[in-house]
Subunit: 201 residues, 3 copies
């Protein structure tokens, strides 16, 4: 129930981030919709394809498509006012990546994969919609260049697997993982923490 709500809010936030990038590139309505769509479901789609979980998720669960269509229509109609919601969108986005990382990790566990591969799948679920969005818009993916984003997913996934070692109700590591990702990302953005630079200047 709570998870469904987070899922919806996350999908909306991801789709809007797609709309904003696509409108920046002045794509037409169809282009804006496709970019919003791949931003929202691209990470999970890549994960499903790589583990052979087909037809991929969004094809059998039409609710995502419906949420994205409605989000795109409202985003285009109220494009000028979207900037007033940047803080809420950032929050939904952050909550979304927390949940999606854990969803991806579960899919990896269901497929019998090792923890390190589950964390890779979780990070992919949360972050690679944005990677596909940027490639389709002819940009080097933003998460390869700046901001701690994927790193907090990896950390959250690590904390989840650490906690699984202890005899606790399995819901606790799951929720802790989500909360860690959210808190770490909020802290990273608030204190402008970036990955250490590997370049001399």
């Amino acid at each position: 129930m709570l998870y469904s709500l987070i899922d919806i809010l996350g999908t909306i936030a991801f789709a809007i981030s797609g709309v904003l990038v696509a409108m920046d590139k002045r794509l037409d309505v169809f282009g804006v919709f496709i970019i919003a769509f791949v931003t929202a479901v691209g990470g999970g789609t890549l994960r499903d394809v790589l583990i052979g979980n087909t037809p991929v998720g969004w094809m059998t669960q039409p609710n995502y498509t419906i949420i994205i269509i409605i989000t795109v229509i409202f985003s285009i109609l109220f494009a000028g006012r979207l900037k007033h919601f940047r803080k809420s969108l950032f929050l939904f986005d952050t909550i979304g990546i927390g949940l999606y990382t854990m969803v991806g990790i579960q899919k990896g566990l269901d497929a019998g994969l090792l923890p390190i591969m589950c964390i890779a799948l979780g990070t992919m679920t949360a972050c690679f919609g944005g990677v596909i969005r940027d490639i389709l818009c002819n940009e080097i993916p933003v998460i390869f260049r700046k901001e701690i984003y994927a790193t907090v997913c990896i950390l959250g996934g690590g904390i989840y697997f650490l906690m699984l070692q202890f005899p606790v109700n399995p819901d606790i590591p799951y929720i802790t993982g989500i909360i860690c990702i959210i808190v770490l990302r909020l802290l990273a953005v608030k204190f402008k923490i970036a990955l250490p630079s590997i370049y001399n200047k």
Copy 2:
């Protein structure tokens, strides 16, 4: 029989569109061939991967590869004269997207998907070879920016499912869908109909 002929003409038209874009970017022979290949079979390949229909179509049906190889050789040899055939190529391309949309829809129905997902698969089959072509050539996909292209596939797919509600021979909606897509696209290009702009200026 007629479908096979349309399929061959469509494959040739798609492959030539790939050759033209690739030569514009001055790729070498191998690059030109790969771009022609993904333009022709990329949409169907993406569809097959997403629904788990593997090995993907072109691997088990070598006729596509052979047609594309021959098309690429002739296109390179007669590159200078290709422009005289632009009208025929446009027609073959248009007939091709009509057929490929319906082929994709059938694959979706075979996979037990909802009509809206079948239409998405049909549109993908017809249009996403061009998307992959543009990404490989480092361009924002042209169908996200201008021209009614994917929209007519979506409309044709919608008409197909509407007609399926009536007690008619299943061939009739199929053929009607193809014809609607062809006619709508010809009209859209002739009367320069574009999607309504979502930008103020």
Copy 3:
């Protein structure tokens, strides 16, 4: 045993080529790792997805991920000195594409595909990690523009299938294919052999 060694050297060489391109684009640590990773395993991943061999190879064999992580760490630490190893890296890379072409061909044979499709899969395994690397870095893939690279994989694959016609120990065509690819590539680079130009000027 020998194959494992070649496999490891090839993975290292591919990963380092990814690190070099990524650092050239000044990506952050996460970006550098992802580019190194897709360069090393991207070709095999695409092959596995297209034939339906899922979960894809690197998910069930964590050794690749470990080798790549170590390679990336060392490459970043000693980035300035990597240029002294260009010749060794070129050699490992060349030996790698020889092996990977044959690995891809075997996977195609296991999937019951025709020789031409097996050669396509082998070439993809060897060359398409670099294609994905270039797309993620917002470049037109280098193998579409210059240097004989994919062509030697195709030739080596052809020689393999030719030799299979003769009643010899199956290891012989396999090893001959690898050696042919290595020798042809070394010769092509030494004598600056390129594909014939298809442009007038």
